[in-house]
């Protein structure tokens, strides 16, 4: 049963180290931008090599933007 004290003890020590790391990172401005990420994920990658046309073969509407 002592194993649980061990695992939880290790967890708490880790957690404290992590907490310091978090405060350090937050001061770096981690949460400053909450607007662009949601837009950026929609931008599709530009395909440079392809031997087929997606527009012809992919189902549905507005295909270029959702490959």
């Amino acid at each position: 049963m002592n194993i649980i004290f061990l695992t939880l003890g290790v967890s708490i020590i880790l957690a404290l180290i992590f907490l310091i790391a978090f405060i350090w990172a937050a001061k770096k401005g981690q949460y400053d931008d909450l607007t662009t990420p949601s837009q950026r994920m929609l931008i599709e990658d530009f395909e440079t090599k392809k031997n087929h046309t997606k527009e012809d073969k992919v189902n549905g509407r507005d295909e270029r933007s959702r490959q």
């Binding site: 049963m1 194993i3 649980i4 004290f5 695992t7 939880l8 967890s11 708490i12 880790l14 957690a15 992590f18 907490l19 790391a21 978090f22 990172a25 937050a26 770096k28 401005g29 981690q30 949460y31 400053d32 931008d33 909450l34 607007t35 662009t36 990420p37 949601s38 837009q39 950026r40 994920m41 929609l42 990658d45 530009f46 395909e47 440079t48 090599k49 392809k50 031997n51 087929h52 997606k54 073969k57 992919v58 189902n59 549905g60 509407r61 507005d62 933007s65 959702r66 490959q67």
Partner: protein, 722 residues
């Protein structure tokens, strides 16, 4: 795979994503999904018509319900999570996965684990802890494969080309870290043999650790990864940014902080200390806010795009999935209220609740993602748009029939169990009368499940035809992505807003560690505070052998061993269960569902012969019983050989067996078995064949239930009110 090219400017790479691994996981999702739903249909049929198990041990409800839940959660759910995570992460982080080799080890390792489950669970190798039934070698394999997944995922984060981590990635991180912690802590067990082990936790401790795990398996295997997938695929499919990015951040942190505390709501009104129950209930109620915040965020992502619901099957699947997420997360906290729980616990209402979540939220989200991925992965449009629509409607109808029938069954059971007349007597004292009332609903549920599977078969056909007619030529396309930050000499402004994966890992760790410590730690010393006047004796060697038969056959799937502190429970089954009664129970057998009656005080209630005849054919004793017959228990010989080893493991875990018992446990077991055998033989001289058979050990165990608590003067304390 990256080849640096001068494309327009020198700051671009040209890479190829690893979509082959995504394809593999998609195919595996479809195959195991079919298996999980098919087994689900069989277990549903067995409740309506028990003979559907064909009288085969490995097809009985107790053994294959765990197969169904494990297949649905870890085989179907697991594979779609891995497919979606690997597909979306590469695109969000603009990099190929960290290691092709690790990806493949992850894939084949996971499939092997599933095959292992498929073989061992029907054979009865089970730890009897829900969604953690798999025996220790498979537990070890799960931990290893999960670590490989983690290394591959965090490695991918390390080599990413986009510094900011999109919200979906955080949900994936939460999943990986928390599942690792949950799985490992709940699986600490000591092996007895290659496929048998005992957990280090006993009784209430085991119950608490198990439901801390069990509830968070729902939270961090069926919720957070799917929310990550939602935050990627819903915006992608609708081509609209998520409604509020800020809300998604709040959703994430509040959810991971609150979820870890909710486990005790599975043990309401039980022998778990009241403060722990109340804590679980309060945190469950608080979950309403983040869950609905996320649901609203998902649905409102479709703002201005609602017309897509008319034409796009993918959007239909995703929108309905998010709606079911909202419904399930409304119902969950509601069921966590102690008074509501007293009606719903152990009943089919819980079955309705989980299937609303799994069929509606997990299933429909997965189908939407499969329909999104298949055309893109195989460069071919879906074979049939119409079949996708048909799948949607057939599946939705299936869910509704399932959900409504089980609601009705659950509330019927709950109300009949608690009905007391003016004289304070149970209105329905006869258990089987209540069962008979819900059996028609079990048939209705079967129809619902069959419709859901039918819809899925349409998906299989549609996907099969899509792949078959796909162009055979090279279909991988190279994409242009930005150079890695360290390669590109830009390090100011926006780039400085670095989202380090580790940070989220850390915060998450703190959240779960704090919740876990506060809830688990105090219960570790709980037996110190037991009244000294009562003492529970350990199981005799024969009872222990019988208990392992009980575990193997999955009796806990239908029978609880926890009489709640509720008047109608006490009236029906006897005095409420106490913590000390299960202090030597490894694993605990409190159960979560009462298809049959509670067994905590069944000891001494009926003669041995009653149990023998009941196990051979329950209908001989109780007409209309839906319990399977267990004739093989009269053929299998008791495993005396392993008893000494079992006892020594128990002793190592702190059970006070004396040296004599440890050295001669098998001999004592044989002597005890002889007595039960003689008494049965004296009543029925034809029973010469059952000497040393498992049925004897099981009877010994059943007769000990509620009978092992000894008062200070050594007298057995009878807690039965009959």
């Amino acid at each position: 795979m990256a080849e640096m090219k001068e494309v327009g400017s020198k700051l671009m790479d040209r890479i190829v994503y690893d979509d082959d691994i995504v394809k593999k996981f998609v195919i595996a999702t479809i195959l195991w999904g079919a298996a999980a739903f098919l087994v689900g249909l069989l277990v549903a049929l067995e409740l309506a018509y028990w003979k559907a198990n064909l009288n085969l041990p490995w097809l009985t409800f107790g053994r294959i319900r765990p197969l169904h839940t494990n297949a649905a959660i870890f085989a179907f759910g697991g594979n779609i999570i891995f497919a979606g995570v690997y597909h979306s992460t590469q695109r969000l982080l603009k990099t190929r996965l960290y290691s092709d080799t690790l990806s493949r080890i992850h894939f084949w390792g996971w499939q092997l684990i599933i095959v292992g489950a498929l073989i061992t669970l029907p054979l009865g190798y089970s730890q009897s802890k829900e969604y953690a039934e798999l025996e220790w070698p498979i537990d070890v394999a799960i931990a290893l494969v999960w670590v490989i997944f983690a290394v591959n995922f965090f490695g991918t984060i390390a080599i990413r080309r986009v510094k900011h981590l999109y919200v979906a990635i955080w949900f994936y991180i939460a999943t990986i870290i928390t599942i690792a912690a949950l799985h490992i802590i709940n699986s600490i067990e000591i092996p007895v043999s290659l496929l048998k082990s005992y957990p280090v936790y006993a009784g209430v401790q085991d119950a608490l650790v198990q439901w801390w795990y069990g509830h968070n398996a729902v939270a961090f295997f069926l919720t957070t990864p799917f929310l990550g997938l939602m935050y990627y695929y819903v915006p992608k499919a609708a081509n609209r940014p998520v409604y509020s990015y800020k809300l998604s951040v709040i959703h994430f942190w509040s959810l991971v902080f609150l979820y870890i505390w909710a486990g005790p709501h599975h043990l309401l009104n039980s022998a778990l200390p009241d403060w722990a129950q109340t804590l679980g209930m309060i945190f469950s109620l608080m979950l309403w806010a983040p869950s609905w915040g996320g649901m609203i965020n998902g649905l409102l992502t479709l703002r201005g795009a609602w017309h897509l619901l008319r034409t796009e099957p993918i959007i239909k699947f995703l929108a309905v999935a998010v709606t079911f997420y909202g419904m399930s997360t409304f119902e969950g906290p509601l069921l966590s209220i102690k008074s509501v729980n007293s009606l719903a616990h152990y009943s089919d209402w819980i079955i309705a609740h989980v299937h609303g979540g799994t069929l509606g939220w997990n299933g429909f989200l997965s189908f939407g993602i499969i329909y999104y991925l298949v055309p893109r992965l195989w460069n071919n449009k879906m074979y049939s748009h119409k079949l996708m629509n048909t799948h949607f409607w057939v599946g939705l109808l299936g869910i509704l029939i399932y959900y409504i029938s089980m609601w009705a069954a659950g509330i019927t059971e709950g109300l009949m169990w608690r009905a007391v007349d003016a004289n304070g007597r149970l209105v329905y004292p006869d258990w089987v009368e209540i069962v008979m009332r819900v059996v028609p609903l079990y048939y209705v549920r079967f129809i619902g499940g069959a419709l859901y599977l039918t819809g899925f078969l349409l998906l299989i056909y549609n996907v099969w035809m899509t792949i078959k007619t796909a162009p055979k030529e090279e279909t991988v396309a190279a994409v242009e992505v930005p150079l890695r930050a360290e390669d590109a000499a830009v390090g100011t402004g926006h780039r400085k807003l670095e989202a380090l994966g580790a940070i989220f890992a850390i915060l998450l760790f703190i959240s779960i560690a704090v919740g876990s410590v506060i809830e688990i730690l105090p219960t570790l010393s709980i037996y110190k505070y037991l009244p000294a006047t009562y003492k529970t004796r350990p199981y005799t060697p024969l009872e222990l052998a019988g208990r392992d038969v009980y575990i193997r056959e999955g009796c806990y799937v239908c029978h609880s061993q926890m009489i709640r502190k509720l008047p109608f429970d006490v009236l029906r089954f006897g005095a409420a269960s106490t913590i000390e009664e299960s202090m030597y129970d490894r694993p605990f057998q409190w159960g979560s569902k009462r298809i049959g009656p509670d067994l905590a005080r069944v000891g001494g209630k009926y003669p041995d012969m009653w149990h023998y005849r009941h196990m051979m054919n329950p209908r001989d004793i109780t007409p209309n019983s839906i319990m399977p017959s267990y004739p093989w228990l009269a053929n299998n010989t008791i495993d005396y050989l392993s008893l000494r080893k079992k006892l020594s493991v128990m002793k190592r875990l702190g059970v006070p067996y004396d040296d004599d018992t440890l050295a001669n446990g098998d001999i004592y077991a044989e002597k005890d078995a002889e007595k039960i055998y003689e008494s049965l033989l004296s009543q029925d001289p034809s029973l010469t064949e059952i000497k040393d058979k498992e049925i004897i050990a099981l009877i010994a165990y059943l007769q000990s239930m509620g009978k092992r608590t000894i008062s200070g003067n050594g007298q057995e304390v009878s807690k039965s009110n009959r």
